[in-house]
């Protein structure tokens, strides 16, 4: 079942003439992880804002085409320190801020918060003041805060930007787990090397429009490598002058050599 459907969606930010999204058609099914890739300014963050019903409803601007959402969405933005509520003096309260706003009973809030803290390995930090956390810890708190609201559609905008390698690995595993539980995931990321293991589909955006859609194998194609959107292994392979098809990951490369 589709969780999100965009049909020829175009979007203009307020007071601009050029569109940030151009006739984008895309759907995300429950249980599916769709990754948005593209150069800076390609429109991935804008697409997430439209999908989250924040653009144009909250930030203004103009939308053409249609956007259908069948699940409640939650979005994780790239800068964690602007996403804290400012109303909580412990990590537990920070994560509970969203569920409390949904008016859930206290026991359900506690259940969801404890579960989210556990999933993001934040239990030892539950009583810490969010203001004392590192950027990576705070990013995990924000992700937990969104997951505690149990959205059916989870939107991630560069979620690994503040995370170290261990934190990023935890996040990618969690995203696959969320998809397995039936959540629809739309992910904008420049961590291309993670996508072969995380994404079911990759959408390549260019100048606000969809240039290509495919499996993560797309990230090993020559055109993607030329645009700086190939995985590290594919890019090295190509730069080294080795023949196509380029391997997507080290495992693919090893298999190919055998």
């Amino acid at each position: 079942m589709k969780s999100l459907t965009l049909d020829h969606a175009s979007y203009w930010y307020a007071a601009t003439d050029s569109s940030a999204l151009r006739a984008v058609s895309l759907d995300v099914a429950q249980g599916e992880v769709v990754a948005l890739v593209g150069a800076l300014g390609a429109g991935a963050s804008t697409l997430l804002l439209v999908a989250a019903d924040l653009a144009p409803r909250v930030i203004g601007g103009r939308l053409e085409g249609s956007v259908s959402r069948h699940d409640r969405s939650g979005i994780v933005l790239p800068t964690p320190w602007t996403q804290v509520s400012g109303m909580a003096f412990t990590v537990w309260d920070e994560v509970a801020f969203g569920p409390a706003n949904l008016g859930w009973p206290a026991h359900e809030i506690a259940r969801q918060v404890d579960r989210a803290l556990e999933r993001l390995e934040l239990v030892p930090l539950a009583s810490r003041d969010p203001a004392t956390l590192s950027g990576g810890e705070l990013q995990r708190v924000i992700i937990a805060a969104i997951l505690a609201m149990d959205p059916g559609l989870v939107l991630f905008d560069e979620p690994a930007a503040e995370l170290d390698a261990e934190g990023a690995a935890l996040l990618w595993r969690l995203i696959r787990l969320l998809a397995k539980e039936g959540k629809a995931i739309l992910l904008a990321t420049s961590a291309l090397d993670a996508l072969p293991d995380v994404a079911d589909r990759v959408v390549w955006l260019e100048d606000g429009a969809v240039r290509a859609v495919g499996t993560p194998d797309l990230l090993a194609e020559g055109a993607a490598c030329d645009a700086g959107l190939g995985t590290s292994v594919a890019t090295v392979w190509r730069t080294g002058g080795l023949p196509a098809p380029y391997p997507l990951t080290v495992a693919h490369a090893v298999r190919g050599r055998r």
Partner: protein, 242 residues
């Protein structure tokens, strides 16, 4: 009882009553009395660590920081009053303004925004309005911390906040512009974040830990209101007898 353990509405009532009485009571005696009370309040325990500059210092030192901050914030008002008015007017108005400033500084130091939101939501207020009020109170330490970070960053780039007036003005500009622009930028992002975290008009937020509101405190709040009204009426009758 420490200031921060009082119910948030009680703290707000005290913070409202003292400045009101400072302006209602005849100066300088009445205003001096309210100022003494407000300065004593700044020395009571309960200041939050979040108030920048307090840090993890021991209790008495923390209280002195709040006391000193109140006086330092009020000092420029005295200077302007002295330039504009004669000495008696300066004293009368200065005492009143200092009461207002000291009470506000004390309130910011002792009132936890989260407790205020919980109290307002438990009392049936809209969560959005509660957040707006609490965010205003928590903005002072946040902006101060950010200003400090910007000053440090500008120093790293060779800007000195010391020297003559032109140098200080340049330093002020280098502080004010990034401070205002970054605050505006953050407002946009925070609005999006709060929206996605369910803080929208018309919600019925679940109070997580509503502060205890004892009957004695409720009575004290009503008493404060009555004292202010009584003093106001008495002052009007004394000043304008029929």
């Amino acid at each position: 009882m420490t200031g921060s353990r009082l119910h948030p509405f009680t703290l707000l009532a005290i913070a409202g009553a003292l400045p009101a009485l400072a302006w209602i009571l005849p100066a300088p005696d009445g205003a001096a009395a309210t100022l003494v009370v407000s300065l004593v309040l700044t020395l009571t325990p309960g200041a939050r660590l979040g108030l920048t500059g307090i840090g993890a210092s021991p209790g008495w030192r923390r209280r002195l920081v709040v006391f000193r901050m109140a006086l330092l914030t009020a000092a420029p008002f005295w200077l302007f009053l002295l330039l504009l008015h004669d000495v008696p007017t300066t004293i009368a108005t200065g005492l009143r303004i200092t009461t207002m400033v000291a009470t506000f500084v004390w309130l910011v130091a002792v009132l936890e925004p989260a407790r205020l939101v919980e109290a307002m939501v438990a009392a049936g207020w809209s969560a959005s309005i509660a957040y707006l009020l609490a965010a205003t109170l928590s903005a002072v330490p946040v902006l101060k911390a950010r200003a400090q970070r910007i000053v440090e960053a500008q120093r790293c780039r060779g800007l000195s906040p010391r020297g003559g007036i032109p140098a200080r003005l340049r330093a002020l500009q280098a502080l004010a512009l990034p401070l205002v622009l970054s605050a505006l930028h953050e407002v946009d992002e925070r609005a999006l974040a709060l929206e996605t975290r369910g803080l929208v008009p018309g919600i019925r937020r679940t109070p997580l830990a509503p502060p205890h509101d004892p009957a004695a405190e409720r009575a004290a709040r009503w008493a404060l209101l009555l004292v202010c009204l009584f003093t106001l009426v008495r002052r009007l009758i004394v000043q304008h007898p029929s």
